[in-house]
């Protein structure tokens, strides 16, 4: 398993000490808020509606049992006993006091964690497929490359004054579980003639101007990764707009210049940068690949699991949603839902974090992952251990069998926490989850991705939801726009707005009309909502959404 080097540990400690001093100078009046704000943002510390918020990096979503236990300790000691896992594979603590944050950052450093570059105009945490290194459909593990990017991008001297933030995602499997084309740079690991490389996409992103990334290279040799990335960021650093923060992201640069012209800028940068990389990166990569090598998994029988499935209906329901194929047939990848019906999506209490850490140690090689869908993954569980794991999860309230279903909702914190929000997200997610459970329709509806953002910045990825919900402030009242047909996978699509928005109390009745219409319109139980929408087009679904409104208008 990967261990930070002495160099990294020292760098994290040095940054923690530096930030402690900056906080002290803010508190004693030596620094004004204007001076302090960029410093705290460089260390992941925001000021939200009701409190500060500390965003801690979970690089490429990989976290050890020991680190998870430390997050629980931090939540108990300096926050309110819980944390919120985000769509960027980070964790946010919602209630820290400024005076305590230096101690929190020291506690993170004790386990090799930090909050560096989780905020501000920096190259952010590189996200990956949460099944990385485990899934049966993997071409190569993206994490050694993601760690290489982390090392390269941290405090990169050329990129200290970027036009805006910059997000990279890497997917190593055939199925895209990292939404790569919704990122500034999306990297898809591919194999060509026995050589590993990347299909490179650039200029994707959500927010107020959603765009799907465009292909920049169909095959980049893996050894060219850092000089090529550096060329992309350098080209944007020079060409990107600094006159308007809403036009500063690379997606606008690529859109305004065109992909060919932007590619020319990148290729012009590339030769000199390629020449400057003399092989140190490849030596580090080779070491990282060894560190990220799959754990030695002893051969285990799986017949007992099959037997248990036949006799235990609860286990069967849970396994159908939560268990995915592992590259070793004796093992499975387990997705643990942080979406208990009625609970805030992505939140875990400190007790739950400790249980997750214990179970990772007992059944999962001490490894955990955080998915961009705000769930927790145990990547290497022997099938023979699944019944016992399920029992432990059930006792801890973590066995909700809803992965991929209506209640497995991505939701941003919204106006319950966020200073930028224009409406609430979490209570809507909670009500949707309980409403469709209470109707008994959740398993009937089947695969459905609902994603909710509480403002146009789209942290809840609403554009990529089969059903997307965007909360806005319309003349001082919460109002929710619904989009249809988004898709976060390798067949990525942006949802289209269905029509006028709905008042807070009207959203759930509208969704019920929409989903009952789907059940009537689908060809068979195996035709998902998204498939039916693609076959029929949005009109019959819009009719269902606006039926009520039309009737009122006609009266």
């Amino acid at each position: 398993m990967f261990q930070p080097s002495d160099f990294d540990s020292a760098a994290i400690r040095a940054r923690a000490a530096q930030f402690r001093s900056q906080v002290a100078r803010r508190l004693d009046g030596s620094l004004t808020e204007d001076e302090f704000k960029p410093l705290r943002l460089m260390n992941g510390l925001y000021l939200q509606l009701h409190a500060y918020m500390l965003r801690v990096a979970i690089p490429y979503g990989t976290i050890s049992a020991r680190q998870m236990r430390q997050l629980a300790k931090i939540a108990d000691a300096w926050d309110r006993g819980y944390g919120h896992f985000t769509t960027r594979q980070n964790i946010q603590f919602n209630w820290p006091k400024l005076v305590d944050v230096p101690d929190m950052i020291d506690a993170l450093a004790d386990v090799g964690m930090h909050a560096i570059q989780t905020s501000g105009n920096a190259i952010r945490n590189t996200t990956t497929d949460a099944f990385a290194g485990a899934s049966a459909d993997e071409i190569a593990d993206p994490r050694p490359y993601a760690e290489l990017i982390r090392q390269w991008s941290t405090d990169h001297p050329e990129f200290q004054f970027l036009p805006r933030k910059f997000k990279i995602a890497i997917n190593g499997a055939r199925a895209d579980r990292a939404a790569i084309r919704a990122h500034d740079v999306g990297l898809q690991l591919v194999e060509r003639d026995g050589e590993i490389g990347f299909q490179v996409f650039v200029g994707g992103g959500l927010g107020r101007t959603p765009m799907i990334g465009k292909e920049l290279r169909d095959f980049l040799p893996a050894s060219d990764l850092l000089p090529y990335l550096e060329s992309i960021v350098a080209a944007w650093n020079l060409a990107g707009r600094r006159d308007n923060k809403y036009k500063a992201r690379i997606k606008i640069t690529v859109h305004e210049l065109g992909i060919e012209a932007f590619s020319d800028l990148v290729e012009a940068e590339f030769p000199a940068r390629r020449a400057a990389f003399k092989g140190a990166d490849q030596a580090i990569l080779a070491d990282l690949k060894a560190q990220f090598a799959p754990p030695a998994l002893p051969s285990r029988e799986s017949a007992s699991f099959e037997t248990a499935l036949n006799v235990d209906a609860l286990l069967r329901d849970w396994a159908a949603r939560s268990v995915s194929p592992h590259h070793n047939p004796d093992y499975a990848v387990v997705t643990i839902s942080l979406k208990e019906h009625g609970a805030p999506p992505g939140d875990a209490t400190s007790d739950q974090m400790r249980l997750l850490a214990d179970l990772a140690e007992r059944y999962g090689q001490s490894e955990l992952r955080i998915s961009h869908e705000q769930n927790v993954i145990l990547p290497h569980v022997a099938k023979a251990d699944l019944p016992a794991l399920f029992e432990s999860l059930r006792k801890g309230g973590l066995a909700t069998a809803n992965i991929g279903l209506t209640s497995d909702i991505i939701a941003c914190p919204g106006m319950d926490y966020c200073a930028l929000a224009t409406a609430r997200s979490i209570p809507l997610a909670q009500q949707i989850a309980t409403h469709f459970r209470d109707l008994g329709l959740e398993s009937e509806i089947g695969t459905l991705k609902i994603k909710i953002s509480g403002c146009i910045n789209a942290c809840g990825h609403h554009h990529l939801g089969h059903i997307g919900i965007l909360g806005l402030d319309r003349a001082g009242v919460e109002n929710y726009q619904i989009t249809l047909g988004g898709d976060a996978t390798e067949t990525m699509a942006l949802g289209e707005r269905a029509g006028p928005g709905f008042a807070y109390t009207e959203v759930i009745p509208a969704l019920e009309r929409l989903l009952r219409a789907y059940l009537d319109l689908r060809q068979s139980q195996s035709e998902s909502f998204l498939d039916a929408l693609r076959r029929l087009g949005p009109e019959p679904f819009k009719d269902a959404l606006y039926q009520e409104a039309q009737r009122h208008a006609a009266q």
């Binding site: 508190l27 000021l47 409190a51 400024l98 005076v99 805030p344 875990a348 926490y417 009242v477 919460e478």
Partner: protein
């Protein structure tokens, strides 16, 4: 005047702890919206805001939060301010 004046209260976040605070008639920072000074005169509101903004050692991000005057003191004039005054509308996990 480029922007229409809206009556309200001076609000900010406490520097050390981050929680929401309001300024009362005596220029002190208090926790409850209903104890805040209600400002319906643009000149006086601007004066109080300048005083608040100068207290950078105590608070962060002072602004004039829209409010109306109710029987028990100021009340939020926008749902955002209502959430700021009362905290998250949801039950917090594990509490």
């Amino acid at each position: 005047m480029s922007k229409k004046f809206t009556p309200g209260v001076i609000s900010a976040n406490d520097l050390r702890e981050g929680h929401v605070v309001y300024m009362n008639d005596a220029g002190q920072w208090v926790l409850r919206l209903k104890d805040a000074a209600f400002l319906d005169d643009p000149v006086i509101a601007e004066m109080w805001l300048n005083i608040a903004n100068a207290q950078t050692e105590k608070v962060v991000g002072a602004y004039l939060a829209p409010a109306t005057l109710g029987p028990n003191g100021p009340e939020p004039a926008h749902f955002r301010e209502a959430f700021r005054a009362t905290g998250p509308s949801i039950e917090l996990p594990g509490i």
